[in-house]
Each structure stands twice: as C-alpha cells, then as structure tokens.
Subunit: 202 residues, 2 copies
DNA sequence: CATTAAAGTGAGTAATTGATTACTATCTTT
DNA sequence: AAAGATAGTAATCAATTACTCACTTTAATG
C-alpha cells in the first residue's frame, strides 16, 4: 500500500507520519502506538521522527488537526446546496459514517484524547471541533423547526447530543464486533429512527 | 472518604482494590492507572497488590466482573414488575444513567477495554455484558411492538443500537464538559427524542 | 500467652518507552 | 564538482512500569 521512501522533504514526511498514526490506530489501542511503532510503519528509525516533531505529543496534535480539518471540510461540502435541513442532517450523518469507515482509527484516537485528564493541545483541538460540529447541528435543527420540517417542540440541544451519540453508538458497536463495515449497514437504519424522533408529526 | 485500614482479609482487600480502580478511573485516563497508583490510593505499597492478584490484568478483570454484575442486577430490579415495555426501557435508561453518574470511571474503563486489539479476559467480560444488555433491549422492544406500544415497523436491532449509543453519546458529552452531573439533566431530554423515534404514531 | 499463617514492606529487576546525539547519506545550490 | 543544508541511523540515556522476594508486622487461634 504505502511505498516506503526515504529522504522525504519535511512537510511530506509529516504528512506520512500522520497517515501512519491513523493507520496504526485502526489496528491497535491508541496508547500502544509508540514512537517506535510509528517509525517502523514508515520504514524509518525511531529517532528520525524527532527530526520532524519536537515530541510525541506534537505528533498526536498534528493528527488531530488533520482530522478536524478533513472531517469538517467533508461535512461542509456535503451539505452545500442542500436546502432541506433534514436532508442536510442526513447527508452529514452519512458523510461522517463514511469518514469513519474510511479511517477506522480516527474515533479511537478522538475518544482516547477526550479520556485524558490533563488539558493537552490535542484535546483542545478535539473539543473545539466537536463544539463547532454541535453548533452546526443546532443551526440546522433550528432551521428545520422554523420551516416546519422538524417537530416545533424539539429540544435542539438534546437532538444535537443524540445525533453525535448515535454515531458514537455505531462506532462502539463496530469495536464490539471488530468489524467496521457493519457500520455501513446499520447507519441508515439507525438514522431512520432518529429522523422519526425529530421530524414533525404527519 | 475511604478509611484506610491495613491487614484486611483477602476478599475484602480485593473489594477495596476494585473500588480504588473505579475511583481512579473517574479521575484519569485508564491507561494511566498504574499498580503503584492503585496501591497508593489504598494506602498500601505496590508489592502488596500482588498478594491478592496474580497480575494487573487480573485486577482489571475483577473490576469488569464487578461492573457487569452490579449494573445488570440494577437493571433487573428496576424493570421488575413494570408491565409496559416502553416504561421498562425508560427505567433501564435512567437507571443506567444513575449508575454512570455514581461511577463516572466505569464508562471510561469499559471503552478502554473495548479499544484493546487483543482478546483479553476483561474484554470478553465487557462484550458478554453488552451482548446480554442488547438482548434484553431487543426482547423489550419486540414486546412493545407486539402490544402496539411501539412502531410495528421499527427496526429492533437498530433501536437497540441507538439506545446504547444514546447513553454513549451522553457519556462522551460529559467527557467533553468534564462534568458528569450534566448527564442527569440531559438524559431525560434525550430519551424523549428517542421515545418519539420508536413509539407507535398516535 | 505463644504460635503461626496471612498481610504488608521495601528494595530490587527486567523490559519498555520517549528522547538525545554523534555520525552518515542524500539532495540542492552555485 | 564543491559546499552547505536537510534527512536518516544507531547507539544510548533516564524514567517508568509490572512484577518478585526476603523479611517484618499483624491478628486470629488453640
């Protein structure tokens, strides 16, 4: 898959490092991702990593920034031009699921970061991303209520929490089954129930 | 809070150890829970732990078994004598939330175990518990459909996944906020939306 | 009260991990 | 082609971790 090349320019090497970490996270517990493991995956020696990152935390931080950028961009493109808020929510949901299926290590990394007790830079990035995510959801939900597509009595914040929780639940299910692809099948079914919970009664 | 007593009988010492781990998990990343930290929390030296457990994995295993027993027992008592499946589901939901608020470290431990790549004994216990949990949910949901309390077209498996995911989402939200008590407020609101999603249309 | 088995101590070990560094290989620029 | 800059190597370090063990303390029992 990954052609191993040496003497990459620094910025490319950093990109490859991020990819390696996300790859490893799909296979093992994030805490087990040692700098040695990352280096080996790239076909480098461990010490070489520290030519491009000041320390391990900086590597994680770069990964989180990458995830945040990529995911939010994806969600933006996928809702672009969609007029129905409900349709936009569904598009976001499915796009998020696709992202997770494509990068199964990502939710593990995110959750691993959130678990931390200390306030790390990586944790900050994750928190900021979820905050923006939640705000976008609540905007869409409010819109949906305004045009009478969603239940006017709907608890906006609760609906946003449930939206994210639904994805979390699917991810957890995949961790249980050890099979990420199951998510693709379950996602639309679960979203159907969610939609019924927020939609205006016919 | 915890009176530190020395020279406890082995079975009591094991109980105290389990409590210490759950306490620590509420404060820090499960991976940061070292045997030294556990011992210190109990007012013991590290070596003493290994009088009562053959290794660290056995400690985790005991904790998981404790959680599984306590939580499932709680859910059983709380649904006992409740005839309406929908009411039983709500009781389960709220009881589960209460359990999490009382033992905030537990979901972190569970998720930490599920993250593991290898098949550990602790992971097995967690998977077995969630399997039984899901089965009970699906039984209740089927019942609810049978007596026309729930939507007859409802996807039973999806609804069970969403139920667990909803709790997961609330837990994640609390990790984000760093405030477990928020859950208590959000839980009923979120369950309201879930209920609307599975209930028979009026 | 003396005995003894259980519980705890504290000093150790081996393995692992993130990080450092002197040195080498490769690329780029003039 | 020479020279400087960049990237990678390999050995090593200090710190941390789970686990061991010879010894001491405690509490229950006859």
């Amino acid at each position: 898959m990954n052609i191993i090349v040496k003497h990459l320019p620094a910025d490319e090497r950093r990109e490859v490092t991020i990819a390696a970490v996300i790859e490893l996270a799909a296979e093992q517990n994030p805490t087990d991702i040692t700098t040695a493991a990352i280096a080996t995956r790239m076909g480098l020696t461990q010490g070489a990593l520290f030519r491009h990152f000041p320390n391990k935390a900086a590597i994680l931080q770069a990964v989180m920034a990458w995830v945040s950028t990529k995911l939010m961009a994806k969600l933006n493109t996928v809702t672009q031009g969609v007029t129905s808020p409900l349709a936009a929510l569904e598009a976001m949901f499915l796009a998020h699921i696709e992202f997770v299926v494509k990068h199964p290590g990502v939710p593990r990394l995110l959750f691993g970061e959130l678990q931390r007790a200390e306030k790390t830079a990586s944790k900050d990035i994750v928190q900021e991303m979820i905050k923006r995510y939640s705000e976008q959801l609540q905007r869409l939900i409010e819109e949906g209520k305004a045009i009478n597509e969603l239940d006017p009595d709907l608890d906006t914040e609760g609906a946003a929490i449930l939206f994210i929780g639904t994805i979390q639940g699917l991810v957890m299910q995949s961790l249980l089954a050890g099979n990420v692809d199951h998510i693709r099948e379950h996602a639309p079914r679960v979203f159907t129930i969610y939609r019924r919970g927020i939609r205006r009664s016919q």
